[in-house]
């Protein structure tokens, strides 16, 4: 909008649009590929792609969380109720719980990376 004296009454107040600088990783992709472009241009179809990925990843995360909860939540009750609860507590908390934690983490990373690879392949296959 340019300055036009005499229109001051109706002219909406000028707004300076700013935002924090954002990184752009635009690597100069030229041709308008389909799903990729849909995602970038945030059409409804693009959102559907993103949502499906999010749902898959969230499902994996919740599965790991459920296993962890099932593993850990009964333990305090068990220690309180079992006849040799104290000795059991030393063994489980001091040692036995760590390997399952690492294994769960590795399983999650494998699944999450596979989902992402599948997603990339899906998008690129359709691009072609």
């Amino acid at each position: 909008m340019s300055h036009e004296p005499g229109q001051t009454a109706e002219r909406p107040a000028r707004v300076v649009v700013t935002g924090p600088p954002r990184r752009h990783h635009g690597r100069g992709r030229g041709a308008p590929y389909r799903p990729r472009t849909e995602i970038h241009e945030q059409t409804t179809l693009g959102h559907t792609y993103v949502r499906s990925l999010m749902r898959t990843q969230l499902r994996t995360a919740l599965a790991v969380f459920a296993v962890l909860a099932a593993l850990v939540a009964p333990l305090p009750l068990l220690f309180a109720a079992a006849p040799h609860g104290r000795v059991l507590e030393w063994a489980v908390l001091g040692f036995c719980l760590y390997p399952p934690l690492v294994l769960l983490a590795r399983w999650h990373v494998r699944r999450a990376e596979r989902h992402e690879r599948d997603f990339v392949r899906l998008v690129e296959d359709q691009d072609r």
Binding site: G19, P20, L53, Q57, R86, F95, V102, A105, F119
Partner: protein
């Protein structure tokens, strides 16, 4: 104990830290180096650095001390510290890295585009960071005091000065090297003495008294009580007393204390017979908070254990120095892989503190009475091995303990300096980062010098509870739920984090030991404050549907898409 070895070891760690930091100074050139080590840190180095930074005084000294006093229930702390990384991994790690923000306030702003929520998040980051820095400084003071008899503040001041100098000089890049180095130092410093201690224990006939309840004295032992303590006896106990007990003076008299609570005044000496159960001390070392935490085992209610589990499992993801580390990974995939390596590294480390705790229950149970339980790890080598070997191993442990204070304090200072420089000071240049670093350290140093001492692990537990009730819901809902609104986020953080903080403050300064369910619910607030925070955040967000930021879909796409696809336009470009 021969103190010169230990002093030399501590000096060596301090000098080595300064030198590695100075090396970083030469490679740290740009502002980006200062803040995020230019995002070029690979998973192995970064994982060692994260672990080095994370294993604090609470891990190194505090866990063994707590296990000594309260038994194996306290092993939930190291389990929770480790499992916290699993939850961080599955819900937060990769999206957090892809959000491209540097601090938690950055994340809040990127997700919700609200300066108000950003300010609130900054406040919580600084508060949690200060809470967490204080015990590091106190631990340093305690270590130096136990080793040399130096006044308690000297160690705190040394750590504060070295850390601020290092951080201000080199920023994130040099800190990465320092912390990776310190992980291995800490592991060695606990592992090597532990091997010798276990050998000494085997040579002693491998007694299994550690697992008895309660801990008992193996031989006749004389205990000098430094601060006036109240001890609670489960049954009658015959002791020989020099000093005052229950207000009455004794001079080498053999008396029989009845079951119940007795007051032993400062300076008294008690000689306890072999086989006597170790009395539970209350109020040792002026620790009001420990009333709740250090209630004798058996009285520790189940819901307190669950509160502890929730706080540590969910609190890790909101700790300022943990989160900042993820921004130094080159991409989301690397952030995830880094987290797995971290889990392995800290899991391996946490196999050691229980060993020390168990040995301390057999060989140093009188620390419970003197109120110096946090010193158990430091004293065991001398107690069990003695001689030059004991001195050298003790020196190694002392050096490792100092590495723990230095690394955690460094990480926290970097994180806080970043937030203070960005949100409280006018611009984010290197000079302001340095001002931020000084501010970040000055307040907790003053507090730890002026205020009484909290037990190390309890103070850290408090920081975890506040973090779990404020940042955990913000991160989880912010990353996975598109209907989160700025008012919802702000309300949830205020209600959750605020009530957790208030509850613990009430138990700290409130009228004396209220016991029972209400008290332990206040002392371990995570059990109700975390669900409350989630609920508030969700309900207020649902009530303000019009305030969902317009570019939410674009932001979430950026969080979740792999870099090779998600590296497209940022927000605001195609939404208009």
């Amino acid at each position: 104990m021969n103190e010169s070895h230990a002093v030399a070891a501590v000096a060596l760690v301090v000098v080595a830290t300064a030198l590695v930091g100075a090396f970083g100074l030469r490679v740290s050139r740009t502002t980006s180096d200062f803040y995020v080590a230019s995002r070029t840190v690979g998973p192995r180095l970064n994982a060692a650095a994260i672990s080095g930074e994370y294993l604090s005084a609470a891990s190194f000294l505090g866990i063994a001390g707590l296990v000594l006093v309260q038994g194996p229930d306290m092993l939930w702390y190291p389990v929770g510290y480790t499992a916290g990384y699993l939850l961080l991994l599955i819900f937060v790690a990769a999206p957090l890295r892809r959000s491209g923000a540097y601090t938690l306030p950055d994340f809040a702003e990127a997700r919700l585009a609200s300066p108000g929520v950003r300010k609130l998040a900054s406040g919580f980051v600084v508060g949690i960071g200060w809470l967490y820095l204080m015990p590091q400084l106190q631990g340093a003071g305690l270590t130096l005091k136990v080793l040399t008899g130096a006044p308690g503040t000297l160690g705190s001041v040394i750590v504060a000065v070295v850390v601020v100098a290092n951080v201000a000089a080199g920023g994130m890049r040099s800190i990465t090297f320092v912390q990776a180095f310190q992980y291995w130092l800490k592991l060695t410093a606990l592992l090597v003495p532990a091997l010798f201690l276990v050998l000494a224990w085997r040579g002693d006939g491998a007694p299994t008294r550690a697992f008895d309840e309660p801990a008992a004295f193996r031989e006749q032992r004389t205990v000098r009580v430094q601060d006036t303590v109240e001890i609670r006896l489960a049954g009658p106990l015959a002791v020989t007393v020099h000093g005052r007990v229950d207000g009455r003076p004794y001079d080498g008299d053999r008396i029989s204390l009845t079951a119940g609570v007795h007051t032993v005044e400062a300076g008294s000496r008690l000689r306890l017979p072999a086989g006597a159960p170790v009395p539970a001390a209350r109020g040792a070392g002026d620790t009001a908070l420990s009333d709740s935490a250090s209630a004798p085992q058996g009285e520790r209610p189940l819901h307190a254990t669950y509160g502890l589990i929730i706080a540590t499992f969910l609190g890790t993801m909101g700790l300022p120095h943990v989160v900042v580390r993820f921004y130094t990974s080159p991409n989301g995939v690397a952030a995830r892989r880094t987290t797995v390596v971290v889990l392995g590294l800290i899991g391996a480390f946490y196999l050691l503190p229980p060993v020390y705790g168990a040995l301390a229950r057999m060989y140093a149970p009188e620390l419970v009475l003197t109120g110096n339980t946090d010193a158990a790890v430091l004293l065991l080598p001398d107690r069990m091995i003695g001689g030059v070997g004991g001195d050298l191993l003790g020196a190694l442990v002392a050096g490792g303990a100092f590495a723990a204070f230095l690394s955690t304090a460094s990480g926290l200072t970097v994180a806080l300096a970043g937030v203070i420089a960005q949100d409280a000071l006018p611009s984010r240049g290197i000079r302001h980062f340095r001002v931020g670093a000084v501010t970040a350290m000055a307040v907790p140093l003053a507090a730890s010098v002026l205020a009484g001492r909290l037990p190390i692990a309890d103070a850290v537990g408090l920081a975890f509870a506040v973090s779990a009730s404020s940042f955990c819901p913000l991160l989880v809902l912010g990353i996975w739920w598109r209907r989160l609104t700025p008012p919802g986020a702000a309300a949830g953080m205020l209600v959750g984090g605020g009530s957790a903080l208030a509850a613990v403050s009430v138990t700290l300064v409130g009228p004396h030991p209220a016991t029972g369910v209400p008290h332990s619910l206040l002392a371990w607030p995570a059990l109700w404050s975390v669900p409350l925070a989630f609920l508030t955040m969700i309900l207020v967000s649902l009530a303000t549907p019009g305030r969902v930021p317009p570019d939410t879909d674009a932001v979430l796409a950026r969080f979740h898409l792999p870099e090779e696809i998600g590296g497209g336009p940022g927000r605001k470009e195609n939404t208009a």
